[in-house]
Each structure stands twice: as structure tokens, then as C-alpha cells.
């Protein structure tokens, strides 16, 4: 893999309870990742994601999902290898482009990053309000640990390929 900017994006609405899972995970990661990793947590629209990805090397997107699994379950998707399941990453807003559509649009115009991993955290409650349900909070803890570990391994791999 060539070196390129590493970007983490947390998606969600912090006033819709578990929909904030991606945002909170990204904010937590910002405090522990290397300084050259760009972390964004103010993105809600898939169109803005495409602008962020453009030219990036390694991109991780974190979002809440509704797949029917137990709340707090984590699923990891390689978005370049297989299409993201639209039904589990559907936006709760009719005003925004969701992640699967953003990936499809970016693919159509040749604006995908070298690597695009999407982590979904299964949600329980997307009603108006602030605060994660306990199981989803556990999911956020798990995903931040996993991503931090993944990034450290990536850094080692990139250093090895440089040498």
C-alpha cells in the first residue's frame, strides 16, 4: 500500500442518542491516534465524505447501523471489496446522502481512497436525546480499541515498506 493521508470520520447526530456512536468513537480516537491522522466528527452528509476521501490513503468511517443484531455489535466492512449493505446504513434523515450512496457516487467519479473501511455499531435507540445506551457505549469502547490497534499495525506496515 502506498502512503497517503490516514483519515477517520465519525458520522452521526449527537442529539439522536445511539446515532452519535460514530461521532463519539471518532472523538475518542482523536485523543489517542498519531498526530498525522486526520479525525473528523462534524460530517453528516455523504457528499462531504467524498471531498474528505479525495486523495486520502487509508480511510475509516464509523457509523451507527441497524441490522437487527444485538445492540453494541460491531461489524467491519471493506467498502472497496463489496458494496455496503444499504439497508443497515440507511440515513435517518431524508435530507442527506448516506454512506453506501456516497461510496457508489465516489466510485462512479473515481474519487475513492486507496482503502475504505466502514465500522458499523449496532444501535438500539435513535430517538431524540443525548447519551448512548449502555450496550452501544460498550460497542464504542470496543471499536475505538480495534481501530487504534489497526492503525498501529498499519503504521508498522508502512514503516516496513519504506525501509
Amino acid at each position: 500500500m502506498r502512503k497517503g493521508q490516514t483519515v477517520i470520520v465519525g458520522i452521526g447526530n449527537e442529539y439522536r442518542r445511539d446515532d452519535a456512536a460514530g461521532l463519539i468513537a471518532a472523538r475518542r480516537l482523536r485523543t489517542v491516534v498519531a498526530s498525522d491522522v486526520h479525525v473528523h466528527d462534524g460530517i453528516a452528509d455523504g457528499l462531504d465524505l467524498i471531498n474528505l476521501w479525495d486523495g486520502a490513503g487509508y480511510v475509516i468511517v464509523i457509523d451507527s447501523m441497524l441490522s437487527g443484531a444485538k445492540p453494541g455489535t460491531i461489524r467491519r466492512f471493506d467498502a472497496l471489496a463489496t458494496p455496503l449493505p444499504a439497508e443497515i446504513f440507511r440515513s435517518i434523515s431524508t435530507h442527506l446522502v448516506n454512506i453506501p450512496d456516497a461510496v457508489s457516487l465516489a466510485q462512479a467519479i473515481g474519487k475513492l481512497p486507496q482503502s475504505l473501511t466502514v465500522y458499523g455499531i449496532e444501535s438500539a435507540d435513535m430517538r431524540y436525546g443525548i447519551g448512548l445506551t449502555p450496550a452501544v457505549q460498550d460497542g464504542v469502547d470496543a471499536v475505538t480499541g480495534t481501530i487504534n490497534y489497526e492503525l498501529r499495525n498499519l503504521a508498522k506496515m508502512l514503516n516496513l515498506s519504506d525501509n
Binding site: D45, I50, L105
Partner: protein, 429 residues
């Protein structure tokens, strides 16, 4: 006589949730309704009791695409109530952040929401497969608009740097100069957008509209001016309640706005353009005339060209402001509340946005009225639908439905902005 209905439950490629319903009897359209069923959002109600300083931050939440419009209309209304004028470089910075919003909103609408109609695609994803370069251009235009809003507003969604009296922090000249190169690109891209949109095919459809917009003696309007129309209206902003009123209709959670004397009216780019062509900068005027537009435009389908002309204006104006900028010594003027009512009107990307607030001497809001452009356009949208569909009843139903949806998209309706229900009446039996 045979009757039929055409119904679309959820309109595509509009902001928010709405539907349309046409009733056809024989060869006549007897009824055309734009059904708005987004739940009322009660902003006007819950602003009561809040402090006037909170209003720009709260009203920005009404819209993720046009938050600056809400912030500017509310700031101007509250400043009027308090007897304060924001002038000089702070006034220019307000125009600059508004230019950012026009750029991102118009680019989004032209390329992502409306162009697919004209180019024969279901949506922008289908369009991107054949016209990737257009979508790439649109994304970059949107990004530049967002960057300008972030630079001046702190972030592009619900900006946090705007306050009554000005801003919390103002940029340095160096910070603004970094936007010159992207805006110069955006200006060229906007001129190309005018050329592109001028080559599209447009239905022959024109009506004798009453256009309403702000008009200012010195500039293309954004935040200030008088409210004028092409049928004789020429009033100060504070006279708005005497000439306009809101009506509740059963099929819409969004109130319909009318001119008391004459009924429906039309706000937005076509109205602004037709009432203010002489105030556009020369490059925008020349681009418009070369594109085949006159100094007025009454074909709503050509709103896509007019939006492109307004993109040229916004980029040109942004560059003008940045090149002339000197950093003000203070980010805001002092605003002391006093008892009174203030009115504000600014030109959101979709049209005139009117705010009115009454405050006490400690700055508490006791009454709030917010009238968005999409509320004001509902009657004209429904009449357009009725008259447009009437000329096309021989089309297959699928094509007629598609063209009616396209007719609604001419207005770039912001449906979730338009739901501001003040009164909630509960009847219990």
C-alpha cells in the same frame, strides 16, 4: 366524465419530505396540491422566553443547508429591535459568509438535484456514470462554499461564530486570502455552469408571476433592502405584516403565505434576478444574456440557469469583499436589548426569509415569527403544477408524473424549513 388522480407520496431530489397530488377530470386539472407532512417544528413557540442572544444559534438549526439565512434574518431583526446597525467590514463579512452559503446551496441544487431531470437521469448517481466530470466540478464548488462558511462561521452546518452584532471572531486578511485561488476557480466553474445550463432543453411554460424580493440601491440583495415586487409593491421590511399573511391549509403542515391584496407570489432566484438584474456584476449580466436569458425570466424551468448566474455573482462578490478586506478592530458591535419589535428579511438561496421578534428590556423573546421562502412559494408551486399539467394531460402517466416532479424541483423547495407551526389546537371529545 373520466376522473383520475396522480399521486406521488414522496418527492425525490427535494430537501425534506413532501408529496404531490393532482386531480384530473376529463381534460381538466381540478386540483393540484403540494402535500407537506413533515411534523411542525415549533421554533416560533419555543423561542419565546429564550434570550435574544440565543436566537441565531437556535434558528440556524432550522436548516442544515441554509443556516446563514436564518442567522442573518434573525440578527437583522433583533438589531433593528435594539436600534443597532452593523456596518463597515462586519457588514461585508456577513455578505461574504452568505456568498459561501449561496455557492454550496446553488451548486448542490443545480448539479445534484435538478440537472438529472434535464439530462434524463433518475438521480445523480446514474448521471455520474456518464458525466463524472460534472459531478466532480459540483463537489468542488460545494466544498469551496462550505470552506468559506467554515472559515467565517466556525463550521458549515449550524455555524457557531455568528452573533447579534456581528461575530465572535473575525478572520485575518491572510486567512481570507487563502480563499482567493479556490474562489477564482469557482468563478470560472460558475461561468461554465451558466454555459452548460443554457444548452439544456426547457418546456415552453411562462406565467405572469408576481415576483417578490429584496432590492437595494447599491447591490444585488443579500441581507438588506426594501421588499419590492414587479406589480407595484415597494415597502420597508417592517411593513411586511401589513401586506402579507399566512394561511393554514388542510393538506400541508407548512403555512401558505399570500399577499393580502393579490394572493400568490413568487420568491427566489427568478424573483431576485428579475427585480435586480441591473445590480448584478458585469460578468454575471454578460453570462446571463449570452445564455439567452432576458433581463427578466418568467419560465420557472430556467431557474437552473438563473441559479448558475447567481453562482457567478456569489463568487465575484466573495472575491470583491476579500480583496477589499481590512480586519475590523472588534468582531461585533455592542447590542443592548430594549423593549420593542424588530423585523429582518434576507435572501436565502431559495428566496426571501422574513423574521420578526418582540423582546423585553432584559432581552427575552416574547414573540417570534419566521416565514421561510418555501412557505411563501407553496401557492405558486401548486398553481404552476395545475397549469403545467393541464398542457400535458395527453402524456403517459409516468412521464406526466415525472415532469410534475421536475416542476416542483424548479423551486428547490426546502420543505423542513417551511414547517413552522405556531398554534397547536387540540380538540378533546
Amino acid at each position: 366524465m373520466k376522473s383520475k388522480s396522480i399521486k406521488v407520496d414522496f418527492l425525490a431530489r427535494v430537501e425534506g419530505e413532501g408529496g404531490l397530488h393532482l386531480k384530473i377530470k376529463g381534460n381538466r386539472v381540478t386540483e393540484a396540491r403540494l402535500n407537506i407532512f413533515e411534523p411542525p417544528r415549533f421554533f416560533e413557540a419555543f423561542l419565546r422566553g429564550r434570550n435574544f442572544t440565543e436566537v441565531p444559534d437556535i434558528t440556524a438549526r432550522i436548516c442544515g443547508i441554509c443556516p446563514i439565512a436564518y442567522q442573518m434574518s434573525s440578527c437583522h431583526a433583533l438589531e433593528q429591535a435594539c436600534g443597532v446597525t452593523v456596518d463597515g467590514q462586519l457588514r461585508e463579512l456577513r455578505r461574504l459568509i452568505y456568498c459561501g452559503e449561496w455557492i454550496e446551496s446553488h451548486a448542490l441544487h443545480i448539479y445534484f438535484l435538478h440537472a438529472p431531470d434535464f439530462l434524463g437521469y433518475q438521480d445523480v448517481l446514474e448521471m455520474a456514470k456518464d458525466h463524472g466530470e460534472l459531478v466532480t466540478k459540483a463537489l468542488r464548488l460545494k466544498k469551496i462554499g462550505n470552506e468559506l462558511m467554515t472559515l467565517l462561521g466556525g463550521r458549515e452546518i449550524h455555524p457557531i461564530n455568528v452573533r447579534v452584532g456581528g461575530f465572535y471572531k473575525v478572520p485575518t486578511k491572510a486567512e481570507l486570502k487563502r480563499m482567493i485561488e479556490p474562489l477564482e476557480w469557482a468563478l470560472e466553474a460558475s461561468l461554465e455552469t451558466v454555459k452548460l445550463t443554457s444548452t439544456l432543453s426547457f418546456p415552453e411554460f411562462e406565467r405572469n408571476y408576481e415576483f417578490v424580493a429584496l432590492r437595494h440601491p447599491d447591490e444585488y440583495p443579500l441581507c438588506e433592502g426594501r421588499i419590492v415586487s414587479n406589480k407595484g409593491l415597494d415597502i420597508a421590511i417592517e411593513e411586511y405584516p401589513r401586506h402579507f399573511e399566512e394561511q393554514h391549509v388542510a393538506h400541508s403542515t407548512s403555512l401558505h403565505s399570500v399577499l393580502k391584496e393579490r394572493g400568490e407570489y413568487f420568491v427566489g432566484p427568478l424573483a431576485r434576478y428579475s427585480l435586480n438584474f441591473d445590480k448584478l456584476p458585469k460578468p454575471a449580466q454578460e453570462a446571463a444574456l449570452t445564455a439567452g436569458l432576458g433581463k427578466t425570466c418568467t419560465n420557472p424551468f430556467k431557474s437552473i440557469i438563473v441559479r448558475a448566474v447567481e453562482l457567478v455573482f456569489a463568487c465575484h462578490e466573495a472575491l470583491r469583499i476579500i480583496n477589499a478586506y481590512t480586519m475590523p478592530s472588534h468582531p461585533a458591535v455592542t447590542v443592548t436589548p430594549k423593549v420593542g419589535t424588530g423585523h429582518g428579511c434576507s435572501e436565502a438561496p431559495r428566496g426571501s426569509l422574513y423574521h420578526r421578534y418582540t423582546i423585553t428590556d432584559d432581552g427575552s423573546i416574547t414573540a417570534a415569527t419566521i416565514i421561510p421562502p418555501t412557505s411563501q412559494n407553496q401557492k405558486v408551486i401548486e398553481r404552476d403544477l395545475k397549469e403545467f399539467a393541464a398542457t400535458r394531460l395527453d402524456l403517459p402517466e409516468e412521464k406526466l408524473t415525472w415532469e410534475c416532479e421536475q416542476a416542483i424541483r424548479n423551486y428547490d423547495p426546502c420543505i423542513s424549513c417551511s414547517c413552522h407551526f405556531l398554534k397547536l389546537k387540540i380538540d378533546r371529545e
